[in-house]
Amino acid sequence: MQLSRQIQAWLLLLPALCLLVAFTHYPVVKTVARSFFGFGVQWEDAASLDNYRYLLEDEVLGQVLYNSFMYAAITVPVSIVLAIAMALWVNSKMRYKGVLRTAYFTPTILPMISVANIWLFFYSPEIGLLNKLLALVGHSGYNWLGDPSLSLYSLMAMTIWKEAGFFMIFYLAALQTIDTNLYHAAAIENASKWTVFRRITFPLLMPTTLFVLVNALLNAFKLVDHLFILTKGGPNNSSNLLLYYIFENAFSFFDTAYAAVLTVVLLVILVVLALLQFGVIEKRVHYR
């Protein structure tokens, strides 16, 4: 007698499910619990809202949340627009486009943490490349990472550099599936390039854009590697991001309980994004 399909199905699912529960669902539950029961690295017997009370008093948090949202709100659209442009270029009849594709994609495979040191050189005042270039045109330059009004944007630039090429691949894949007859039809209509893009290419890339958008948003909340090298969230938290702040609280301040509260905040943000994603998936079904 063969095992029932039901049991077989569960057996196949089991290993993945166990690990997912152990490293995704269980920690989520425990984080929420710790946010109520935790004190420093310890557990208390009774639940309290003390950690959440500190959340309200935490002056840094507001800044960190603002930074995180700005970070997402700017890096995501810019990366996507660049990614579309790159995909169009690489998909066109340009010569040596293979080289170009490699160039665009290279940042994706470079570790953020090593390359951050090189970006540190670009950004460094006095001796850094950017200010030296500015000096050529007689400009005194900026303190890219040391000026609170610039530091976050400097981080964003590196993030965009890192992400755009990765998203390009998705668009490239999507572009190749577009029926060329549509372009022939447009050519017969004598449509301009811009019209073709706006009326044909862009709408057909919409499902990809939605998919990339959600992924980029999620990425924006977890991409903090370069902070470890470039700014450590400074000066004065002007470039601090939520996940880095969680890391600081947990591993520099040994305040696991407050880190748990911050994680809950991040989870709430992600749940909202998740709902967005379900909406997106539903939309995608209509496209298919």
Binding site: Q6, A16, Y104, I109, P111, N117, F170, K222, L243
Partner: protein, 269 residues
């Protein structure tokens, strides 16, 4: 008019391409010249390999490299096996609670392990897996992204192929291995490359969970080695960076065509 926009567009494309490649170009420049030329450009700067030697001596790169390769491979192998099994169950088997299980798995797409470093660290400490390959790998072995991707691909495999294999006497695992896996090859390739480049470069979680050279991967090694606290020496850092990304870079340059193509075939879009 049209021609001008064409040239402008081409020019912009190459300009951005240059900027995108520039950090790597700079790293090569800084690495092969003495450190006084790290912040200065001169055509006649003397060439040297000392920076590589110095970097090599300052950090145990071979060990880091072995760690990174081992971790990346453990994760990849685990992901491929676990995700294949789960994806098949979700794509082709009828069982109670399938929809719910799928939703439960998809949760991980949003709640990535990076966010749960604190609790996962505690769990692994409880299992005495801190500072081991498995400690770095475990939270990533079951990848919702992989399961999702493979499930979509498996659903496109004609059911008759599976039926034929069953009639020819294949077991359940035999069917998965002989029918579904070969047919999903592009998806596996695309997923593998994404996974490898992700975990080769992953930093935050390994930083938290590794303590020593026993398990410390290249990224964490590089962050210690190149930490600004110790005073930045770009020449040596660049050399170290090149050493650490070299293998991946070469792998990418060799496979980039297949990589992009498999992405397209896999329908990741």
């Amino acid at each position: 008019m049209n021609r001008i926009t064409h040239y402008l567009s081409t020019g912009l494309a190459w300009f951005i391409g240059f900027i995108w490649l520039f950090p790597l170009i700079y790293a090569v420049w800084a690495a092969i010249h003495p450190s006084e030329f790290a912040t200065r450009f001169s055509l006649f700067a003397p060439l040297t390999l000392d920076n590589f030697k110095e970097a090599w001596n300052q950090a145990p790169f071979p060990r880091y490299m072995i760690n990174t390769i081992a971790i990346t491979m453990i994760i990849l192998a685990g992901q491929l096996v676990l995700c294949t099994l789960a994806a098949y169950a979700l794509a082709r088997m009828q069982f109670k609670g399938r929809g719910f299980m799928f939703a439960l798995i998809l949760m991980q797409l949003m709640v990535v392990p990076e966010i749960l470093i604190v609790e996962n660290y505690q769990t692994l400490a409880g299992l005495s897996l801190i500072d081991t390959y498995w400690g770095v790998a475990l939270p990533y072995l079951a990848s919702a992204f992989g399961i999702f991707l493979l499930r979509q691909t498996f659903k496109t495999v004609p059911e008759d192929l599976e039926n034929a294999a069953r009639i020819e006497g294949c077991s359940l695992l035999g069917i998965i291995w002989k029918v579904y896996v070969p047919l999903a090859k592009p998806t596996y390739l695309a997923f593998s490359l994404v996974s490898i480049s992700y975990h080769w470069n992953n930093f935050l979680w390994p930083l938290v969970v590794t303590n020593t050279e026993n398990s410390r991967p290249l990224t964490v090694g590089m962050s210690i080695f190149g930490a600004p606290e110790s005073g930045v020496d770009w020449s040596i850092i660049s050399a170290g960076t090149l050493i650490s990304v070299g293998p991946l870079l070469i792998l990418f340059l060799i496979f980039q065509r297949q990589f992009v193509q498999s992405f397209m075939q896999a329908g990741i879009k």
